[in-house]
Point group: C2
Chain length 239, copies 2
DNA sequence: CCAAAAGTGTTTACGGTACACCCATGC
DNA sequence: GCATGGGTGTACCGTAAACACTTTTGG
C-alpha cells in the first residue's frame, strides 16, 4: 500500500514496501552453563542509541508475520529452522514514543552450539544476557521479555519444547538442569529420570560422555516421532 | 497519525482517527442447552455483503488493543466486564482481499443469561451458531475460529475459565456437561464431582434447583478467592 | 583411597478410574 | 412404580515423592 514512511527511530524518510505502524520483536532464548539467557541488541542510532532491546524489525508488504519473524532471525543469527512461536500483539498507545506502533511479539529457542553472531553484528551490537543480568530495555521491551519468560515457563510444562535449547545429544542431568533453571525449582534426580524415560521421548543412542571426572552418563536424543504422536492427543508435563 | 483512509469494505473514503492496516476480530463463545455456541454477525454492505463473520472493528489512535476489543464487545452486546483474552495476530498477506490488513484475534466468554442483542443489531445481523452449524465465514475467519476453539480447549484444562460461560449459580452436572461439550469427551459423574469439589473452587450456597422432575441438585458458586490463589502458584485441570 | 555424578530399588501415599449402589422427586 | 438425575462408597491401579543405596570414573 504505502511506499514511503518516516523511519520513526532515525527520523529519516525511507522508501520501501513495509507496513507502517507494525513491527516485530523477538525474545531469543538460549541455554549455556546451566543458565537461561536472552539475546539482546544494542541500538546504534536514533533516540534509543546505546540502549539494549529485543531484536526487531518491520514486516514487508508481501510477507506473512511469521515469515518476517523468521527472516529477522536469519538475518541476526544466520540460522534457519529455529523454534519460533508468536506470543501476541503489544499495543499500548504510548508504548513507542515517536508514534503509534503496534508490535507483534515472538519468542525463539536456540541451540547455543549452532549459534554464531552473524556478519554485520559485532559482539558489541548483539550479546547474550543471563535473565538476571538483563539491563533496562527500550520502550516496552521489558514487559515483552517478562511475558516471554512467563510464557516459556507455561509452555515448557505442556510440551517438551525445552529440547530446542539443548544440543542434539544430551544427558538426563542436563535436561533436568534445564527444567530446574526455567521453572526455578529443585528436582529429584532418580524421579526425574524415571519420569522422563517413561514418556518414551528419549532415544538411547548408545553413546556416553567422554573426559568427565566421574562416571560417564548416557547420551540421549529426542524422539521427534513420539513427540508428534503425543502432541496430537495432547499431553502434560508437570514437574 | 493518519486521519483519512479508505474503508476497505465499502470503498468509501472515511475520515477518522483509527489505525489503518490493523483490525480486531473476536470469537465470542456462549453455552446454551448443553451446546457451545459462537456469536456471528452478518455483513450488511461491501464485498462481503450477506456473509457471516466474526465481529470485528478498527483500533483508534489513542486506544490500546485490549481497550478496542472491550469497546467492540460493549457496542455489540451491551456488556462490560466480559472475560476477554487476546489470541494472537493473524497476518497472511492475502488474508484480506482489498489490501494488506493484519488482524488481532480475541476470544470472549459470555454468560448467556446476561446477553441481549444490542440496539442497532437486529437478529438478522447478529446470531448465535452452534459450533457444528457455523457456516462458511469471510476472509480467514474460519481459521481464526478454529484457532479460538483449539485455544479454548487448551485453556479450559489449565484454568477454570469455563465458569465464565455458566450462570452465577450452577449445578455440578451443568459444569460437567460444559467440560464434556468443550473437550468432546465422556466423563464419570461421581468422579467428576469429587475431583472438582476437592479443588475447593466451588462454594456451596445452600440452595437447590426448583421445579425439576427429579431430585433437586445443589447449586454452587465459583470461589474467586481460591481461584486467585491457585492462579498464582499455577495449576492444572486434566479431565 | 576419595569425590562426584550415574543410576537402581523400595516404601508410602494420594489421585484417577471404574462401577455398584442408594436417594429424592415428578409423573 | 418407574424414569431421571443426584449423590455416596469402594476397590484397584498407577504414578509422584522421598530417600537409601550401589556403580562407575578420574584423580
Amino acid at each position: 500500500m504505502k511506499k514511503e514512511l518516516l523511519d520513526i527511530e532515525t527520523g529519516e524518510l525511507i522508501s520501501t514496501s513495509v507496513m507502517s505502524s507494525i513491527t516485530i520483536d523477538c525474545t531469543i532464548f538460549g541455554f549455556e552453563n546451566g543458565s537461561l539467557e536472552v539475546l539482546l541488541v544494542k541500538h546504534a542510532k536514533g533516540i534509543s542509541k546505546g540502549k539494549w532491546g529485543l531484536p526487531g524489525g518491520w514486516i514487508q508488504e508481501v510477507e506473512s508475520i511469521d515469515a518476517a519473524a523468521h527472516r529477522l532471525l536469519r538475518e541476526l543469527t544466520g540460522l534457519d529452522n529455529i523454534y519460533l512461536e508468536q506470543l501476541k500483539a503489544f499495543g499500548e498507545p504510548d508504548r513507542f514514543p515517536l508514534g503509534r506502533v503496534i508490535t507483534v511479539g515472538y519468542y525463539a529457542l536456540v541451540k547455543r552450539e549452532d549459534y554464531s553472531v552473524k556478519a554485520g553484528f559485532t559482539a558489541s551490537e548483539a550479546k547474550w544476557f543471563k535473565i538476571k543480568d538483563v539491563p533496562e530495555l527500550i520502550y516496552d521491551h521489558t514487559q515483552i521479555l517478562d511475558y516471554s519468560i512467563r510464557n516459556l515457563r507455561k509452555r515448557v510444562r505442556q510440551a517438551p519444547i525445552g529440547f530446542n535449547l539443548l544440543p542434539e545429544k544430551f544427558t538426563l542431568l542436563q535436561l533436568m538442569q534445564l527444567y530446574q533453571e526455567i521453572l526455578n525449582v529443585e528436582m529429584d534426580k532418580p524421579n526425574f529420570r524415571r519420569k522422563f524415560l517413561r514418556m518414551k521421548l528419549l532415544v538411547d543412542i548408545n553413546e556416553k560422555q567422554k573426559d568427565v571426572s566421574h562416571r560417564a552418563a548416557k547420551l540421549y536424543k529426542f524422539d521427534h516421532k513420539t513427540y508428534q504422536k503425543l502432541t496430537e492427543k495432547g499431553f502434560n508435563f508437570e514437574f
